[in-house]
């Protein structure tokens, strides 16, 4: 085998390294014990039984969050912004002559079951609100909103813009819904609404 010339760089370096067999430092052994103890402790406290779809180490309570008193955790303000504010306006003042106000309205803060009936089936025909006559059409929401959602949006409306009536529970909306189960047309103006039980 022919040997290539030894380069000066190769000549000047130290020999290849090797290892001495000094014993393991005590401190390293101690560290090993501490770490194993930590591992056992950590595993024994681990939550490995929650379904993994919830996300690692998350509890049911964290996922459910805080429950508002009424409205069963549904965000009434969000529903109002999405479904009602187009007509009644974000301020709840309506548009004079076209859409009646909800702020200070006797229908809103009045009988809870009547308010629920209005949102469930809508109104068409003359109605007087805060002394002003209106004659338009309010759409029905029975099909698009559930009981809890109607309860939440009404509770929201009843507590805004100076209104301060009690929140409406979902059960009340459910009762009103079954009371008018056969109905397929809007209520006929303020007169019919005033006669509701």
């Amino acid at each position: 085998m022919n040997t290539p010339d030894v380069l000066p760089q190769q000549r000047r370096e130290n020999p290849d390294p090797q290892e001495r067999s000094t014993p393991m430092p005590r401190l390293v052994l101690l560290l090993a014990l501490v770490l194993v103890a930590f591992g056992i402790d950590y595993i024994s406290h681990a939550d490995v039984n929650s379904p993994s779809a919830w996300g690692d180490a998350r509890t049911r309570a964290e996922l459910v969050g805080d429950r508002p008193a009424a409205g069963q955790g549904v965000d009434g303000a969000a529903i109002y912004a999405a479904m009602c504010s187009g007509c009644h306006q974000a301020s709840g003042q309506g548009l004079p002559g076209v859409f009646p106000p909800l702020a200070g309205s006797e229908w809103v803060v009045g009988k809870a079951s009547t308010a629920a009936a209005i949102v469930l089936h809508g109104v068409s025909g003359p109605i007087e609100v805060k002394g002003q006559p209106f004659n338009g059409t309010m759409p029905a929401f029975a099909a698009s909103l559930g009981d809890a959602e109607i309860a939440a949006v009404l509770s929201h409306v009843r507590s805004q813009w100076g209104n301060s009536a009690a929140p409406i529970p979902a059960e009340l909306v459910a009762n009103t819904r079954s009371l008018h189960a056969d109905r397929s047309t809007p209520f006929n103006g303020g007169d019919e609404l005033a006669q509701l039980p």
């Binding site: 190769q10 000047r12 390294p17 001495r20 000094t22 014993p23 390293v28 591992g39 056992i40 490995v48």
Partner: protein, 534 residues
């Protein structure tokens, strides 16, 4: 049995098994007295630190006899062209990656800059940066170093170098195609596995071809004892093709399982590929430069087998908070903490070896890079262990804090070590000395101060960002805006690093083109002796 009991018994059994295994390795290998581990050293060689400042003529030949020198020359001659090719590629990818990284960094605080071309958008240029460092710079530098070191440690010539050359050519062709497709907008959509799987086949073939000479050379080895660097490098060469193949099989992994596989790969490529290559380099070059044996074979065993054993199970710590099974994340967190053990073993081994030999730091740039890199290994790993705890990860996940940790590891540790290795190896494979030692210092300080700025600013910024995101009373935009000064500081640090790389590459070109420095003649310039320690 409950999942908890299964998890607990698996953990305890595996730790006991590991302990027994390491003990049996030790008992067996040191059986025929200590001779087994000292065959590499000729008598009288131990404990003579090189005096790098001594003028060449008066310098002893470092205690090596003619046979050792001849073996060394033969080993180097068999690898020189190959290693040279790997290193040239490493330089190119280092510059490409730095440019891409710096562009991505500036875009995060100057979003209106360079918006005309889709390939320069943050999403693509960041991915180009990541892939250019992960599959270009780091493996080319690391594998090149491994191919240089392995024949030296086996005291034989490299067998099958042609396969490795072919492998490297395939690998670089794949990377060019891969980066092109990422820039074009075609990607697999998994972090660290972005390159389309069709191209990945070339990487697997290239990686396997690069690993093949290792097996061939091992069969021809002239030593009875395998030095610790050989374990690390050998395993890295074996692990990579396996990991990469499994991770890229198309249509095999779906949904949560795919995410789990993604991070099994992601962490293993860090821990079982770059990390062992860099650790092996430290284990070789550090005692080499100071001329002392490594303190303890026992610590090397613990460091190696601990790493091999624990790292494979830590991938789950990238998915903390995700919808993956709780036992898996828990196990990954525990094993992340267990990683402190091999890290401590490595640190103790280096520290005890270096003790009393720090003077060599003044002369040897290689040693400077190696020592700082070794310290950063300890720092990034210990940081990582705590970052894996749920309480801390809840803050740091999804923030720049992770990016700071990533650069402490891949830059502060892996890249600095490879810089040091290249400063040592290049004079041996070209027969030329570095012409301007000052530029080595400039590179060293730019890189280390640059990464310090990078790390500190993003660590603080990332932590504040994480706290702001968890605070319900503050808007999301607040958590974004508050990182701006830290992102600007990162660009400053990154620019210094990039400048250091340009200097490094320019110096390399200067070394190749320098007049009068021939392969054989000894350059007599005063600069040459100043750079002696390498």
């Amino acid at each position: 049995m409950s999942p908890l009991a299964i998890l607990m018994s698996a953990f305890i059994l595996s730790i006991v098994g590991l302990g027994f295994f390491i003990w049996s390795q030790r008992a067996h290998l040191t059986d025929p007295s200590t001779e087994g581990s000292e065959v590499i050293f000729a008598a009288g060689e131990i404990g003579t630190p090189e005096e790098p400042a001594a003028p060449l003529a008066t310098r002893p030949a470092a205690g090596a006899d003619d046979a050792e020198l001849a073996a060394r020359a033969r080993a180097d001659a068999s690898t020189a062209p190959l290693v040279f090719f790997f290193y040239c590629c490493a330089f190119v990818w280092l510059l490409v990656a730095s440019a891409a990284g710096l562009t991505a960094s500036i875009k995060l605080h100057a979003p209106d800059w360079l918006t005309a071309d889709a390939w320069l958008s943050f999403g693509r240029i960041r991915t180009v940066h990541l892939n250019a460092v992960a599959y270009g710079w780091a493996p080319m530098a690391g594998l090149g170093t491994a191919l240089f070191v392995i024949p030296r440690l086996l005291k034989t010539e490299l067998v099958g170098g042609r396969y490795a050359l072919l492998g490297a050519a395939l690998w670089n062709a794949a990377l060019i195609a891969g980066l092109g497709s990422l820039a074009y907008g075609v990607s697999d959509g998994l972090e660290w596995l972005e390159i389309p799987w069709q191209i990945d086949l070339l990487f697997v073939a290239g990686g396997a071809l690069i690993g093949l000479p290792l097996i061939l050379t091992l069969r021809r080895r002239q030593v009875a004892h395998l030095y610790v660097s050989v374990w690390y490098m050998g395993c890295a060469l074996f692990w990579f093709p396996v990991l990469f193949l499994v991770a890229n099989v198309p249509g095999l992994h779906h949904g949560i399982e795919q995410a789990t596989m993604n991070w099994w790969f992601g962490h293993n490529v860090l821990g079982l590929f770059y990390t062992p290559l860099a650790l092996a380099s430290i284990y070789y070059f550090l005692p080499k430069v100071i001329g002392r044996p490594i303190q303890s074979y026992n610590l090397s065993l613990l460091g190696f087998w601990g790493l091999a054993f624990f790292y494979g199970q830590v991938g789950g710590h990238h998915l903390i908070g995700g919808p993956v099974p709780g036992w898996m994340v828990t196990l990954s967190i525990v094993q992340s903490m267990m990683m402190i053990l091999p890290v401590a073993a490595f640190t103790a081994n280096q520290h005890l070896t270096l003790k009393g030999n720090l003077a060599a730091l003044r002369h040897s740039p290689t040693l400077r890079f190696m020592c700082l890199g070794g310290l950063m290994y300890t720092a990034s790993s210990v940081q990582g262990s705590f970052e894996a705890l749920r309480s801390m990860n809840a803050v740091t996940h999804f923030t720049h804090y992770t990016v700071a940790h990533a650069h402490l590891g891949l830059y502060g540790f892996v890249s600095l070590v490879f810089f040091g290795a290249m400063y040592f190896v290049i004079p041996r494979i070209t027969g030329r000395d570095w012409p301007w030692p000052r530029m080595i210092s400039a590179h060293f300080w730019l890189a280390s101060i640059g990464v310090a700025i990078y790390f500190v600013s993003l660590t603080i910024g990332g932590w504040l960002q994480g706290r702001a995101m968890l605070d319900e009373s503050r808007g999301f935009m607040e958590s974004v805006l508050l990182t701006l000064p830290y992102l600007k500081a990162r660009s400053v640090g990154g620019a210094m690093m990039a400048l250091g790389h340009v200097i490094f590459a320019a110096h390399f070109i200067r070394l190749l083109t320098a007049r009068g420095a021939s392969r054989r003649a000894q350059p007599a310039s005063p600069f040459a002796t100043a750079a002696e320690g390498i």
